[in-house]
Symmetry: C2
Subunit: 232 residues, 2 copies
């Protein structure tokens, strides 16, 4: 029996990373799903990440506690207010307050550590250069630099046999294209969670940048949005 | 009054990082000292890191809990045995079991996050290419790649004003040269802790790679070794 290659999937339980998980599964990888508890204001995304790991038969789902709250500096971990009802054009104009300093760098570093221990050479992350909402650590040049560093950081790089790859299958897709891809691969989007500022019951606010991008994506894709939004 | 530049110092409480702290202080930086509780077998190095932060008047000393134990794969966090009584030549020949996968990458990533929040552009780390004992993430090409990635990862990089620098003042020094430098700058080496496998009371084993490099360093520097070793 041919042993399937292992891949580490960074999973936030959101629309993007759950689609990435479906893509990695479709490519035939054994999935090792990695999520973080990083002082988020809510834990709905961790619940969604767990559901995604189950839905795509991940071999293992690991949740790591990281203490970004001690470092601060973001609306997602601090008491800074999450912006609401911004247009897409406003989102692109500057780095938003929801940016968590060095978040993807920290996430990828844990994924790298786990990949090295597992003997995996592929790390999947759902970053996107089109709808990236102004985050510096979602740009392709950042990912390329990370991959280069990662190969120098690890045994795999020193031995030079296999090369670590940071896989970003969503990089050049619009939100609508991501959703279309996911629908083809059978992603159960009703389990995913994107909202930055959900209600205490876990309903999406419908007004934060993440909700707006998601709503517009479903609309543009011509797919019914299965998200439960707060009724105002 | 001129505001001194801030620097984040990765501090393990060991000989190298404590010397780095002295160098950064000597260069006039405001020090922000960063240590990690990462499932080490003992906490003597965290006690030493705290003493170092006090000794060099760090503005703040932050200890972050990171859960490398969940990931495993190293003698420093797992129940793999720490090698003893190896010669320096043996240490260089391969990546040792004390290598913690992606450790420096994870440490630097937290430092990067904190630097961004503080508005610091210098991150000091005590890596060394000479006595690096076979760790891939202590090589200069790794540090250069990290610095490039870090500048792309952050607001500082996007805005292009100030450039983040990963400072490695010990990179090309032998252990003896590091000690000589530290003595010049008044490093109280008696507070530092290097041993991978100390006694329950915190005495150094004298036999692990780290102890051997340290002992030989003091000998070669012609400086009395203030370390308390286990008496066998």
């Amino acid at each position: 029996m041919i042993q399937r290659q292992k891949a580490v999937i960074l999973s936030s339980g959101g629309l993007d990373s759950t689609t990435v998980m479906a893509i990695a599964q479709h490519e035939g990888y054994q999935l090792f799903s990695l999520s973080f508890h990083y002082g988020q204001r809510h834990s709905f995304e961790l619940t969604a990440a767990k559901k995604a790991a189950l839905a795509f038969h991940a071999v293992k789902h690991l949740v790591i506690n990281i203490d970004l709250g001690k470092i601060g500096g973001s609306a997602l971990t601090d008491s800074i207010e999450v912006p609401k009802n911004r247009k897409k054009s406003q989102m692109d104009s500057e780095i938003p307050v929801t940016y968590v300093p060095a978040r993807n760098t920290i996430f990828l570093s844990y994924a790298l550590a786990w990949a090295e221990v597992l003997g995996a050479f592929d790390i999947f992350i759902g970053v996107n250069a089109i709808d990236y909402s102004g985050y510096p650590d979602c740009r392709p040049e950042y990912i390329q630099a990370y991959e280069k560093m990662a190969n120098l950081a690890t045994k795999a790089g020193v031995e030079g046999n296999n090369r670590l790859r940071i896989r970003t299958p969503l990089m050049n897709l619009t939100k609508a294209q991501i959703i279309q891809k996911g629908i083809e691969l059978g992603v159960p989007y009703e389990i995913t969670h994107s909202c930055y500022d959900p209600s205490p019951e876990g309903l999406a606010c419908g007004e934060c940048d993440s909700c707006i991008l998601r709503k517009e994506g479903f609309l543009e894709a011509g797919v019914k949005d299965p998200t439960h939004y707060v009724i105002r």
